[in-house]
């Protein structure tokens, strides 16, 4: 259901202000969403003054700096710091992206950092993605063949190229959580990330379960809640196009007799 306002327990309060202690002249204000599950308090926005002369170029570097030098209680996911693992997906400056590849020089004014939108917050910048993972599991993201191949399952160059722009997806959930349709129907609508993955297996020449896969996804709520809002493509930090992948599924369904 469309619910524009946040529920009462999610209303954001003004939080603490951490003044700069280094005496630097090159300061930037960074506003970070905080919520501590061990207290009964509502979420708050803490503001940190960051010495930009001693801070590397990415938003993740700012978060690391806060955690290492100012406030060790800050919680966020991160791992590879090279845009490969997809752990540090969050909302920066009103747009989803990976903190490790987003340069803070691109952001004008104060830097606002929130968790991925419309998720249950586990702590600070960590959102609960278990629904998304369950949906991912539901599209059975593995190769299905009727018999065991005796040798390597070969693919022509042309068939292989169909997976370009799909296999690169790192499941960071930036796209799904940027989608208003997924906000309002996240429990039923599969969302761009999972549908892109579904398409990745539908289009794979080695897979023998294409018809079943298409049938499974052909659903008013699972697939057709996509209204081509294109927030997903706008958000994808890997430059992929989930909107196009979803449109290809719709096209396949419209042109094949299932």
């Amino acid at each position: 259901m469309v619910q524009i306002n946040l529920p009462e327990n999610s209303k954001i309060q003004k939080g603490k202000y951490y003044k700069d202690k280094t005496g630097s002249k090159n300061l930037r204000k960074v506003n970070v969403y905080r919520w501590d599950p061990s207290t009964d308090e509502k979420p708050r926005i803490d503001t940190y003054e960051i010495d930009m002369d001693n801070c590397p170029s990415k938003v993740l570097d700012i978060l690391n700096k806060i955690k290492n030098e100012i406030d060790p209680s800050l919680a966020y996911r991160r791992s590879c710091a090279h845009g490969v693992c997809g752990s540090c997906a969050m909302n920066m400056d009103g747009k989803n992206g990976l903190a490790c590849t987003k340069s803070h020089a691109e952001i004008k004014g104060d830097i606002n950092i929130y968790p991925l939108p419309h998720l249950k917050v586990l702590k600070d910048l960590i959102g609960d993605l278990s629904t998304l993972y369950k949906q991912y599991e539901s599209v059975q993201p593995w190769l299905k063949t009727s018999k065991k191949p005796e040798k390597e399952n070969l693919q022509s160059r042309e068939d292989r190229s169909k997976l370009d722009g799909l296999y690169e997806c790192i499941m960071c959930a930036c796209c799904s959580t940027s989608c208003p349709s997924y906000w309002w129907n996240g429990d039923k609508y599969l969302g761009p990330a999972v549908l892109l993955q579904a398409y990745r297996w539908i289009i794979d020449s080695r897979d023998e379960d294409r018809k079943e896969r298409l049938k499974k996804v052909a659903d008013e709520l699972k697939l057709y809640r996509c209204h081509t809002i294109m927030n997903c493509t706008n958000a994808c930090p890997k430059g992929l196009n989930p909107a196009k992948a979803i449109a290809e599924i719709k096209k396949m369904l419209a042109t094949s007799n299932i």
């Binding site: 524009i4 946040l6 529920p7 327990n9 999610s10 954001i12 969403y33 919520w35 599950p37 009964d40 509502k42 979420p43 909302n91 400056d93 009103g94 747009k95 606002n112 929130y114 968790p115 991925l116 939108p117 419309h118 998720l119 249950k120 917050v121 586990l122 959102g127 609960d128 940027s178 208003p180 906000w183 209204h227 081509t228 809002i229 294109m230 927030n231 493509t233 706008n234 196009n241 909107a243 196009k244 449109a247 290809e248 719709k250 096209k251 419209a254």
Partner: protein, 127 residues
């Protein structure tokens, strides 16, 4: 999981893009057009049943509010049609490139205003 986990902010913090703006306007103009068709039916039935009192409608359309109403409807139709054409191309699988979708989105927005002005002026016999 405990149930008191807050929901992270969504529409409150998310930036608007050309594509999302056109998408929501497409919906709103669709609803306006739907309501207008009901009005259109009432209007036509009224003309058939009480043609002699048609000046009531004429007065309304000539008032400032009436003109505003007419122009809004023309805009809503123009927008809906242009945006629908964009959707048709999408359904064929074209125009998903981020740059192209931004350009077509802007075309829909500006095109709807241009066609509103043109249709209104042509309808009033000014052009």
């Amino acid at each position: 999981m405990k149930n008191n986990n807050p929901l992270s902010p969504h529409i409150q913090i998310y930036n608007w893009h050309v594509s999302s703006l056109v998408s929501i306007s497409h919906r709103i103009s669709g609803v306006i057009n739907y309501l207008f068709f009901i009005f259109l039916c009432i209007w036509i039935s009224f003309v058939f049943l009480f043609g002699q009192h048609y000046n009531l409608f004429a007065d309304f359309f000539n008032s400032i509010f009436g003109k505003f109403f007419v122009i809004s409807i023309i805009w809503s139709f123009s927008f809906q049609i242009l945006s629908e054409i964009r959707h048709l191309f999408w359904d064929l699988g074209y125009g998903f490139d981020l740059k192209i979708s931004n350009i077509t989105g802007l075309c829909v927005i500006f095109g709807s205003f241009i066609s509103t002005v043109l249709i209104y002026f042509i309808g009033r016999g000014i052009i």
